[in-house]
């Protein structure tokens, strides 16, 4: 076994017992990156020198701090390239930020630094996290480690592929409509979208502010719980982060799930979904039942409006969030004959097709005369979708669904058909609209060896219970142990 095969908790343990050095571990990953990255293309920037610098400074950390308080001591992670890292290029996979080096550190990466992590690199994504395949990256396409002709999912495709291909121990992604869970599902790894407000967004380049949330992508459930412990918590720099009590997400892992009530919403088993996915998820539900869970049929009646609602709210917020990329202060500037010309040339050259499409959609939805019919209506429907979840959670503890209606599709297959692409997130989007937490874990493979993901959704701030159910499932199955052959 190679060091790069270790999970986060295994590596933590080995470092603690001084069986391996941080440098050894980090070098093992750079070797791995060297060997497989040209086939996977998970990274935008590999931060070799920065990593070595951090190895040195973590060693020094031990002079001042007790090892046991450094939860990520020497742990090599990859960070999605829409999370600001001080002094390290942060591009959002967009030409408009191709040269942007943040002068400040995001809150999540500050917390990782305080806990002694090592940055391996910044991972690829759909430009500004807009997409479900990572094909919208302004730089290159990331391949699915299970089948390199297929997409890794998106938008955190780089992070999911890097974890799956053992190019890092774990990674951070961001999830606006499924961008952590869907690629985790398609790459056969674990991904958590925390409750909105659980993790600070300060330093996460905004796509849709009321939906965005940072979360872990890991090789197993325990690792996600450990990372969540580090990145969660109220941040005075993010007014939307909630001063919720800090809890230990690993605490309930290993407890039995006997008697836990699991809701299965009928709206999530739809016409046209992949048969193998449907079978695998139904098997998983039966497996949970065999572990003592009580399965209850439930309904989330407004699910069919989720995609439409999402694409109005997310694009409206995006149209405003992306206005700052105007060529004036940082990033790309294409000179023009006057101010307006400079704006138009810069944005025409700097943004890709999908980003432009969403800016236009959002601008339209917010325009006077259309606002009531689109943006306000979407907000009203969002309230109904939230209420659906509130109602169901009066009867059940968690909800279980497929993460994605299909396994990984072929590169290029949906790129010309945005509507079909948008439907990739049909099962994950309503979770963001409701603000509740969700996790995706491996629950099987298709006949051609593509991973299938199971989504477990919880109540607001009840991550501990979805992690408990996920862990019980994972530990009684073998799916998470399978590795792609690269």
């Amino acid at each position: 076994m190679n060091l790069y095969n270790l999970t986060l908790s295994e590596a933590k343990d080995r470092i603690k017992k001084r069986e391996i050095s941080v440098k050894e571990l980090v070098m093992s990953f750079f070797e791995r990156i060297e060997n497989v990255e040209k086939e996977i293309s998970a990274f935008i920037t590999v931060t070799y020198e920065k990593a070595l610098e951090m190895v040195e400074s973590t060693e020094k950390m031990l002079n001042n701090v007790d090892h046991s308080t450094l939860y990520l001591y020497g742990i090599p992670l990859a960070i999605k390239d829409n999370i600001c890292t001080k002094g390290i290029k942060t591009t959002c996979a967009s030409k408009i930020l191709h040269n942007f080096v943040p002068p400040y550190e995001s809150t999540v990466t500050s917390k990782l630094i305080q806990n002694g992590y090592i940055l391996l690199g910044k991972t690829n994504l759909d430009e500004f996290a807009m997409g479900s395949s990572t094909e919208n990256s302004g730089f290159h396409v990331t391949k699915n480690p299970w089948d390199k002709e297929r997409i890794p999912g998106g938008s955190s495709g780089g992070s999911a592929a890097a974890v799956s291909a053992d190019e890092c121990i774990a990674a951070l992604g961001s999830d606006t409509g499924g961008s952590i869970r869907q690629p985790a599902s398609l790459c056969g790894v674990v991904g958590v979208k925390p409750t909105y407000g659980r993790v600070s967004r300060f330093g996460l380049v905004a796509f849709a502010s009321s939906l965005d949330q940072i979360g872990p992508i890991t090789k197993n459930v325990m690792d996600s719980a450990i990372l969540l412990n580090v990145i969660s918590g109220h941040d005075p720099k993010d007014s939307t982060s909630v001063p919720w009590e800090q809890e230990d997400f690993t605490k309930l892992l290993g407890q039995e799930i006997k008697g836990i009530k699991i809701g299965v919403p009928k709206e999530f088993f739809i016409e046209g979904m992949d048969k193998e996915v449907e079978l695998a998820v139904k098997d998983a539900i039966r497996h949970l039942e065999s572990l003592g869970a009580i399965i209850i049929d439930v309904s989330l009646p407004h699910t069919e409006y989720a995609v439409a609602t999402y694409y109005i709210i997310a694009t409206s917020e995006a149209s405003s969030n992306l206005a700052r990329y105007d060529g004036v202060k940082y990033g790309l500037r294409v000179n023009g004959k006057d101010l307006l010309d400079m704006y138009m040339k810069t944005r025409a050259m700097g943004f890709g097709k999908e980003v432009k499409r969403r800016i236009m959609l959002g601008t339209y939805s917010l325009s006077s005369g259309y606002y009531e019919a689109y943006y306000r209506k979407a907000q009203q429907v969002r309230t109904l979708i939230k209420k659906d979840f509130d109602d169901v959670f009066k009867q059940v503890d968690v909800i279980v669904t497929p993460t994605s209606p299909t396994p990984a599709f072929k590169i290029g297959e949906r790129i010309e058909n945005p509507l079909q692409m948008y439907l990739s997130d049909i099962f994950t989007i309503s979770v963001n609209l409701a603000g509740v937490p969700g996790i995706s874990i491996p629950c099987g493979f298709t006949s051609n060896n593509l991973p299938i993901g199971l989504q477990i959704i919880g109540k607001h701030f009840d991550e501990k219970n979805i992690l408990k159910v996920a862990y019980a499932y994972e530990q009684s199955t073998e799916w998470h142990k399978k590795k792609p052959l690269i």
Partner: protein, 481 residues
């Protein structure tokens, strides 16, 4: 045909908070460009705003003082437009749910009190500044001002004349300054005023087409611009034309308003609730605390000055127009000055000296104690009222450089002591009368008004220092012999 104007004002007031509204940068005016900035107010990718509680408190203070209802639930909204001085491409403002609504200000026009309604007060961030002069082919952007907290105070269209508009503005400025929430400096732009104005036939109910006026950076310009605009609109209607809904700029050099953009060219700001900030929820307790911390406001103070000090409504109005004047007055009275007399000195000599030096009252170095000391010398006859003016000006001059001022020393050093010694005055009178035989004869023949002539002569001879009462008495006595 008689017309009346319908005017509403939108006032932007920069708040006197130490730091910006959504980050910790200083709001100090006049620093080197872009030195008071951080990732948040520069609009870096990934940053988030955090509301400055002080700015909220200032807005609530203002709202209470302008008789508004304070919203227990309000929120921020984004106003979207592109401009280099607006780093995020949107301004964080308030739209649907402002912090304060439904207030009023009372103004006095020709002795009659009139209420001007306040529609709303909302909080927002200021933009930076674009610099085009002396920069060659480029323009520069200074973002020091970006994120400085503003209040926008919107009046109802209750104003009918330019004079009322100015009174409203002055009153608003006074209140903001009393509250220490805005310094009210129109020239420096910490208080900015836009106007919406339309005209209609007297007695007509429906409103005319409104025009928005901008770029009026003094009370005088507000009055002139409104005046011009009323005349212009009347002329257009009289000539059979129509008023166009548009934004016009006041050109102070030419003294006219000029079209800037029509309604069709107006921005669609695409307002929507700011998702990066949670709704503002305010409890009654905090509002009560703020209410209790409020200073006495100008209207209350004026009433108290009239009833307590027995001064005229006019004097009280003047003294309460600035908190600093009112405080100066009250301190002088507390030290023993007679209210009416102190008021006259402030209104007259002190204001004259300050105005001549182009100084505001806050810059006044002269202390109430200085005036009161001098007043005692008038009262006990050491100096005359006339000489006192000389002493006062001297005290004012010295106060600019030193606080070691005593009226006594000035009177002594300058030899301004009043001559009340009857023997000495008698000697001077005798001398004058002996030189003015002709005038003495005429007086004795019944020309009483010549007494003034003799008094004048004595004063001239004593450089104004002779005690006028004694001079009068002695002259009458001598001339009746």
């Amino acid at each position: 045909m008689e017309y009346e104007a319908v005017i509403g004002l939108e006032v932007h007031a920069q708040m006197l908070t130490e730091t910006k509204i959504f980050c910790g940068c200083s709001t100090k005016f006049g620093a080197e460009p872009n030195t008071q900035t951080c990732p948040v107010c520069i609009g870096m990718p990934g940053v988030l705003p955090v509301l400055n509680k002080k700015a909220l408190e200032f807005a609530i203070k203002t709202g209470i003082s302008l008789n508004c209802s304070i919203s227990r639930y309000s929120r921020f909204a984004r106003k979207n437009y592109f401009y280099p001085d607006l780093p995020k491409g949107y301004q964080i403002s308030q739209y649907e749910l402002p912090i304060c609504e439904n207030g009023y200000i009372e103004i006095i026009i020709d002795g009659i009190t009139k209420k001007i309604g306040i529609t709303r007060i909302h909080m927002e961030e200021d933009a930076g500044k674009n610099i085009h002069e002396g920069t060659g082919d480029y323009s520069f952007v200074d973002l020091n001002r970006a994120g400085v907290p503003l209040m926008e105070i919107v009046s109802e269209p209750d104003i009918r004349t330019p004079q009322e508009a100015v009174e409203y503005l002055k009153k608003l400025r006074t209140i903001l300054r009393y509250l220490d929430v805005c310094d009210g400096n129109m020239e420096q732009g910490s208080l900015r005023c836009d106007a919406n104005i339309s005209i209609r036939k007297k007695g007509q109910k429906e409103l005319g087409v409104k025009v928005e006026l901008k770029n009026m950076n003094s009370f005088k310009f507000v009055e002139k611009a409104l005046d011009y605009e009323i005349k212009r609109q009347i002329r257009v209607l009289e000539e059979g034309g129509n008023i166009i809904q548009e934004t016009r700029l006041w050109d102070s050099t030419l003294g006219i308003t000029e079209s800037m953009r029509s309604k069709e060219e107006a921005h669609d700001y695409r307002y929507f609730p700011e998702p990066d900030l949670v709704p503002i929820v305010i409890d009654d307790k905090w509002i009560d605390e703020i209410r209790e911390s409020l200073p006495e406001l100008p209207d209350k103070k004026r009433e108290r000055f009239v009833s307590f000090y027995g001064i005229s409504e006019n004097d009280a109005n003047f003294l309460t127009s600035e908190k600093s004047i009112a405080n100066w007055f009250e301190e002088a009275v507390m030290l023993g000055g007679k209210p009416k007399i102190v008021a006259n000195w402030i209104k007259g000599d002190l204001m004259k000296l300050l105005n001549a030096d182009d100084k505001s009252f806050e810059d006044c170095k002269l202390k109430p104690s200085h005036l009161v000391e001098m007043l005692k010398f008038i009262e006990n006859g050491t100096i005359s009222g006339k000489i006192a003016k000389v002493v006062f000006e001297e005290m004012y001059r010295i106060s600019e450089v030193s606080q070691e001022i005593t009226a006594e020393k000035i009177i002594r050093d300058k030899g301004l002591l009043q001559i009340s010694d009857e023997v000495e005055i008698e000697k001077i009178i005798d001398e004058i009368l002996s030189k003015s035989k002709k005038e003495v004869d005429r007086y004795k023949a019944g020309e009483d008004k010549l007494l003034g002539y003799f008094v004048g002569q004595v004063m001239k001879a004593t450089k104004g220092k002779a005690n006028p009462q004694i001079v009068n008495e002695l002259l009458k006595k001598k001339l009746s012999i």
